[in-house]
């Protein structure tokens, strides 16, 4: 692992669904399960709402990683929104590779309303992977390509 620049803190955006992952994250809070504070979450009703453009916007804004998290397959509050979101992830990941971003910077997970411990684990994993990858090339302060954005 290359040395990360001094002062850099991962900037990670999470877009999570109201019914499962947001509730799971709340449950982790209720249970006081501690995890790193590097992720900022935006709530949507369903991961089906996640426009690929939101993810691309986050990366061009300099996000080091993006996490999309919804219900398990078969558990979607809206039947199949998570499934459609998951299918879009393949498209977005290939776009990321095309612009030279490591596709591990985008992750989709499935965390139910009863999986507080799993939510904490997901955040730890995402933060660890981001630490391993270092700042995004498009990171506005630390990225190699910051002049481009």
């Amino acid at each position: 692992m290359a040395e990360n620049p001094e002062g850099w803190q991962p900037r990670i955006l999470a877009i999570i669904c109201n019914w499962c992952s947001y509730a799971g994250a709340d449950l982790a809070g209720g249970a006081r399960i501690q995890y790193p504070p590097d992720v900022r979450a935006i709530r949507v009703m369903c991961t089906g709402r996640v426009d690929p453009l939101f993810i691309m916007k986050a990366f061009t804004d300099g996000a080091d990683s993006v996490l999309i998290s919804g219900c398990h397959f078969g558990d979607c509050h809206y039947l199949e929104g998570n499934f459609k979101a998951a299918k879009r992830m393949f498209l977005v990941k290939s776009l990321l590779r095309n612009i030279g971003l490591d596709d591990r910077r985008l992750r989709m997970t499935f965390v139910s309303a009863s999986e507080g411990a799993k939510w904490a684990k997901v955040i730890e994993d995402v933060v660890n992977v981001t630490q391993e990858l270092g700042p995004s090339p498009f990171n506005r302060e630390y990225g190699e390509l910051k002049e481009l954005v």
């Binding site: 209720g30 399960i33 453009l53 929104g81």
Partner: protein, 679 residues
Amino acid sequence: MAEAVSPSTSEKPKAPRIGVFVCHCGTNIAGSIDIEAVKEYAKTLPNVGYVNDYKYQCSMPGQVTIQDAVKENDLTGVVVAACSPRLHEPTFRAATKDAGLNPFRFEMANIREQNSWVHMHDQEGATQKAKDAIRIAVAKASLLEDLYPKSVPVEHAAMVVGAGVAGMQAALDLANAGIKTYLVEKSPTIGGRMSQLDKTFPTLDCSQCILTPKMVDVGRAENIVLMVNSEVEEVEGYIGNFDVTIRRKATGVLSPAEAEAKGIVGGGCTGCGDCAPVCPVTKPNEFEMGMAPRKAIYIYHPQVVPLLYTIDWDSCVKCGLCVEACGEKKAIDLEMQDELVKVKVGTVILATGFEVFPIETKEEWGYKRYDNVITSLEFERLICASGPTGGHLVRPSDGETPMRIGFVLCAGSRDSTGVGKPYCSRFCCMYSLKHAHQIIEKIPGAVPYIFYMDIRSFGKAYEEFYYRIQDEGAKFIRGRVSNIQEDPVTKNLKVYVEDTLLGRPMELELDMVVLAAAVQPTEMTNKTRKLFGVSCSTDGWLLEAHPKLNPCGTTTAGVFVAGVCQGPKDIPDTVAQAEGAASAASIPIHRGEVELEPYYAMCIEEKCAGCGMCVNLCPYQALSLVEKDGRTVMQVTEAKCKGCGTCGGFCPGGAIWMNHFATPQIVAQIDAFLLGGEQ
């Protein structure tokens, strides 16, 4: 993309002025987050016109500070940085409304559940995260618009799925409150698990004696439409208007009413039982845990409601002897087909119960390998006067009366080995104490040995019952049975256990061992919950909307839970929850209308290319293509739209406006986070 304007707004809105209210929540938030720093930071944010903090923002005085600030500072929106919107969004929306603003001008920043509680020892990180969360919330609040919830009428009918004691109680309560109630049960009779029990703890009431009158009440209640041998097949709609398709399985037997409808005057099944003796096929009776026979045309037991015979198609050979025996009543139709029935209901209660964990998977205890190792439910049938042995407890191996009987508690419960269940099944301690009492009472000289981890006798008069059983002479051995071995000749059982109070291994020879097996959700529970969009916990039990404050509700509005399908509980708790669920389910029905969140999609027609991709993505058939001014554009049927936004996430032209989660609003949140508040 960022300058898209909602199709509902015609005039230019006034410049946003947002009020930010930071809650301490006592020390819940203030203990980990520097409130003063957060407040000072919020003042520097664009569009922020007022910032304040309060010890408990959700308290009445806290809400009043919001109302006063909105009026005095001419605010256009409110941001409260406090707990989760899943907890207090309704509270603060109401406060925003009381302040004279549209309630949807409110946005919440979660700095408790997803911040101070999970970064308790990192004040710097938590404070930075809180600042970001407020910046993100202010960015969204600046773009929020007035929205108006729609009122829809509520169908004056309810449905209860599962007719055990929970479902029966809920259906009776609803029916007595004047609501037409469809009670759907998959087996041929109502009554559920409770009807299989002999006595109930701690009062030692006869289970059947207290249950059968309730079953009869259900059977004759005017407002209850009883649908046995039936399963929910399809669900459409939303609170107030669920369209449910029910599969009524062919029973092969006509009720008197069905016979009359077919023009058979005075016909139909009267439950006389002339058909069963002539049936040549014999099968194990599931109600007796397979310990008694039944025919291919059968009833489980004489008290079934409704009293109608049923044909088991898997074993029926269609010889027609039963048709002959039935004679003039012409109740039997061997060609009967399943029937799909559609009903419309306003609210639904799920009461789908439980099943016994397959305890044979715990191989060390030898269930299904050793004749004299049985489960507690089998014990209930053997000790019950109406059971297969007329209430005489006998060893399955030789029919002898057992004198030394072991009870293995936590059999598969509180078991983290991976084979069992990690949770406590909650009623096994108490029924095992009851079993011990029953053998002491029925078999003079018999000795019960109870192998336990802890005795959990937490209910009203339960602890006293425990002491009573101790006094009656039951032997309590604190330890987990490690192994059971059968003597191949006598079929007696060698039980190996460590007495953890004496700290030494023990070896006992017993005549019979009863496993207090764990309980688990049924497969049907999982199937049904998915139809209604109800979540479950990792153990598979249905998830209540809030474990403390909304124990009967679910995340699907209008769907409630009762009984063990929500988690193991004894009969008093089951009945109490059923009454709670019935009360909750009757509220929208009695009110007559319900407000739906206005999160539906709208089409920005100038941008819509009429490609129709969204139409196929919608799981609710809410979108369609229409001709308008010579162009094809998408149209939303608002009542069908549930606001998931799957269409809006896909539209290649950005032509779909998702109320409250519109693209410009979400992009503003992303920008606010990553560009540090620049808009």
